[in-house]
Symmetry: D3
Subunit: 238 residues, 6 copies
């Protein structure tokens, strides 16, 4: 029995509200239950120095959390003087995930910056961030296409992410915080629309877990991402 009463293979309620920023080229507020993330995509007409004259674009991501996004207040990263290792790890993952489905040549020399800011956290902030960042990126590219700067949206396929875990011996989909803090294993799957693997991060919590548990989590993730792809399609108007 999961704390939330969900079935083992059931996502939390997922919603994606687009156009939440007056300024950003693309934006959405994505909710995985009580986990709420604002994702914005900023388009800049120049790439980092090391890519100049490569004819290719670049996509990068940053991640943050409001100090009271969590049950007990966390110290503000700007106040303590830098981003934690965890923050940097997550934002590197978001960037890699979107780049894995991007056609950097098709972008031309343009940079996209994705900002994922967690307003409220109840587990799964990195998976919600990746799933929402894809939507923000797509919306921003739609705008760039409307301006005639590109002909095709330079995203080859969708990408979404979901967590799975072993909770009380059973593989379950989309951990919330209550489950996450008691899970025997915790895995994040970033999957592409064609079923391909973009990234997998699986971690034993207390003791190593076996291959069959891993395989059950993988199947749940494939089911969950299919549902997320549908939400994404609706949000970006496809």
């Amino acid at each position: 029995m999961r704390p939330s009463g969900r079935n083992f293979d059931q996502l939390r309620d997922v919603s994606i509200e687009t156009g939440v920023s007056k300024y950003a080229e693309g934006s959405c507020l994505i909710k995985f239950g009580d986990t709420h993330v604002i994702c914005t995509a900023t388009v800049e007409d120049k790439v980092p120095g090391w890519m100049r004259n490569s004819g290719k674009g670049w996509i990068t991501a940053e991640y943050g959390m409001l100090p009271r996004a969590t049950d007990s207040r966390m110290q503000r990263e700007a106040a303590r003087g830098g981003q934690s290792g965890r923050t940097q790890e997550i934002q590197r993952l978001i960037g890699r995930s979107i780049r894995a489905v991007a056609d950097l040549k098709g972008m031309g020399e343009m940079q996209m910056r994705l900002d994922c800011d967690v307003i409220q956290a109840d587990g799964g902030t990195r998976t919600a961030s990746i799933t929402g960042a894809y939507v923000a990126a797509h919306l921003a590219f739609q705008g760039v296409r409307r301006l005639g700067l590109i002909k095709e949206i330079p995203l080859t396929q969708p990408v979404a992410a979901i967590s799975c875990g072993i909770y009380q011996g059973e593989a379950v989909l989309d951990l919330d915080y209550a489950e996450d803090s008691n899970a025997g294993a915790d895995a994040n799957f970033v999957l592409a629309g064609n079923g391909g693997i973009v990234e997998v991060q699986a971690t034993a919590e207390d003791v190593p877990f076996d291959r069959s548990a891993y395989d059950r989590m993988f199947e749940l993730a494939e089911k969950g991402c299919k549902e997320l792809f549908a939400k994404q399609r609706a949000a970006i108007g496809l």
Copy 2:
């Protein structure tokens, strides 16, 4: 003629939505037109070291902005390694403003941390932050009172803040960004419910301005704060 079509003495649409955080002891989303700020109040049962055994409480504030809260993306303060001088200046102002109407003795040895995070910025982020922080603080104190830890809300009176400026030679109330970036003077008034002055910061933009302009701005601010006090009362259920 103001860019927004408002009268010289007209606030933008102001709304205060309370209870926006699942976790914070008090919270609201305050909007001054397109300026949106999430304010949360966190209650902690211990004060900073230098206040221990004083029998008094303490209230402190922090301020932040999402990178794409503004028209062009700003660098994330956590990524560049610290808070800017402007950020520190604003959060010190927020803290002083709420403390000026707080009964620190009445709080007992408890600390309240106010976080004001700007989701979208269109001028007036510090005044919206102060106005919303008061609401978040009051709601949090209501919760503390319900727990029986205090008998009275340790806030002696409301406090609100509004900006004024000299725009095209005329004193106007509640500058938005289009006005702010062209104003000849810019003043922030933090006023208490009884009309008392909590803080005034008036700055000439290009050339010094005269006393009568100052006085006209002051009157507009008094009018504006009265309207904000009414919004605050409604939000906190008084």
Copy 3:
């Protein structure tokens, strides 16, 4: 009765000694009683990157305090790894104040850096800094004019600053530390030679203060600045 025995509208002894630096283009040691500040002006022949090719100059200021300028030693800012929020707030104020009376176009593409270093502090360090920075700037511009690089001193009028407060219920001029730490309100006025307002920062200490107290402080400030303008004129040889 003020701790120093001064009348409510009486400045401390003010002196301005010029030419205290062998190297700086302009310099003075300004004393407001026991508050001593060395102000230097450095002229550089290039402006910050964002102003290049604007045909305009720029003026910026930095502020510091020797660790034992105060009664109990403060930690050295260079040793603790950065400037405090208070320091940044003050140096931004000094820069804005001098720029408000500067003709940036008349400067041409030249940058002036003003350094205000407090050797001894007894209240009013920011007002002494602004008042002395104007003198250092003027002296440096005199030297630039002697070199034939400019025809006119690009300062449209003098600027000076003084603090006022409510001490034991009465408005008093030019707070020293003994008063400042017990004042019910504290206001810094930066006024121009023509009586115009450059900046006002008024802060209630414990409880909000009323408009009439504010007005009395304003009048004292106007009187004080007039006396400071006379000291400045003598120092710069006008």
Copy 4:
């Protein structure tokens, strides 16, 4: 054909030299071909503050690289003012990996610090670090046992790590740098002696990869770790 001429399922030459530090409680120099890492284990008799009086021990890890461990010199992290995101990500992984096979209760209130310093890097520095850190930890615990402070080595089973990748369409074991920089996918497997999964991190490089490629890499990793467990056993004298 692999650049090194190895078979697709062949590790580089692996050696583990123990006792390389005069001071550390446990130490080894581990080589995966041209990747050389010094691993030391330091035992401290107190745990971090948040664990005090828990009756449990703690294990933590740090990772570094000499500036010229790589083909082109990298900036020294101490000189640029902090550890990169990549460094933090790796050292967090090393710590989690060893803790997953540790009996923290069995340690008692003792802390072990593992330092993995890369002297020369040719791909696979994190997997060599984990594999060597286990050896250093075991040797240090042997010393603690000799002192009579613990009865059993508080490590429940061995842990080792190896990378796999898809190189020119084929799954290969233990990527060196020449392969790593051209691989279509890159996966790090941290496996326990009983075959259990401690951590898996799989990343697509350019385009998502499919499940069967993933499965082939997994099998190679299991083969590789078995060989590493044998090297570890020899090194620690079992």
Copy 5:
């Protein structure tokens, strides 16, 4: 011929003005020609954590320079985020020098902090700092003795410092900046009142220098320090 017209064995004009700080327990303004340093001594009644319950005191020093102490303005160390290697090297030297003539046991558990702030620099700032720091320390200890907290001044003998160099092939005493920037060797001698060596730092500038040059510099330094000891005695009233 020296740029200043001095004899090869002639100090610049040296003066030591005491009591320049209203607050510090001991203070002086020391001038070696155009090099001016404010030295203050702060007495604190507790020692650093690692010395507690040792029954001994501690003496430490910090060094700084006003940004425009030099011919071209240097960046403020607090603004660039930390002390340079040169600054740290100098302040460590000052601390060691005074501790070498201090009776730490005789101090009891008390800490003295010496601050040497260079107001104007024309070469020899570290030697002026050491020479002045001794005076400030002695004056502060005199005050502590007057309070009856110690019976004897816990300084076993004086310490002073002077630079020498090889300028145009000849050993000269007390380099000013014009000489220092053209010297073939540069040596700082910290000598005790009894002629003992506290610290010697000799550095070749372009090419190694020979032993006889070294010996000539040493003799000059002994002569110079004798003159400095006399200035110190006068300043501290012995």
Copy 6:
């Protein structure tokens, strides 16, 4: 009697193993007894900005220590956010020492970076670093000459360094840690092949020491450096 049983004028066993890095243009592992330092030389084809178009090269050095190079583990400098004053002092010394025997003009506009990383420390890390850095630099210049980029090795003569101290009243050569922590004086001599002085740093530990002790240490250093020059010649193949 020295703790190690060495004669007062006896070096520890010194060895220099070259070519220890697969990548660096020049490298060695130098051992002074149990003090082990890896020295690498990196050649870059551009100089720092301030030297561009000077026609001259530049040589700079960095120094580091593995956290467990010492008896008790030290905090990693990259983790605590910067290099200590001691580290900066040492790396500045290494750079100056090698530059003192370099023909910067003969280098052409090329930069050499020397990295000295202490793998194990038993006293004398800075002297071993200088002695080894010379070897790494020479080997790297040999490679540059083989490429035909320079005709002559731009090193005018060898440079080596050794420490001396007063241990139990007697001058001794090449202090190890056991001696260093009990020495009454500690001096580091950096000498050139022709006997010239490159740098001398002599420090009294508790009380000033006299000139004759200094002279005895100097003679020991000359003897020690002669032996080190022979080791260097063998290592670089001369």
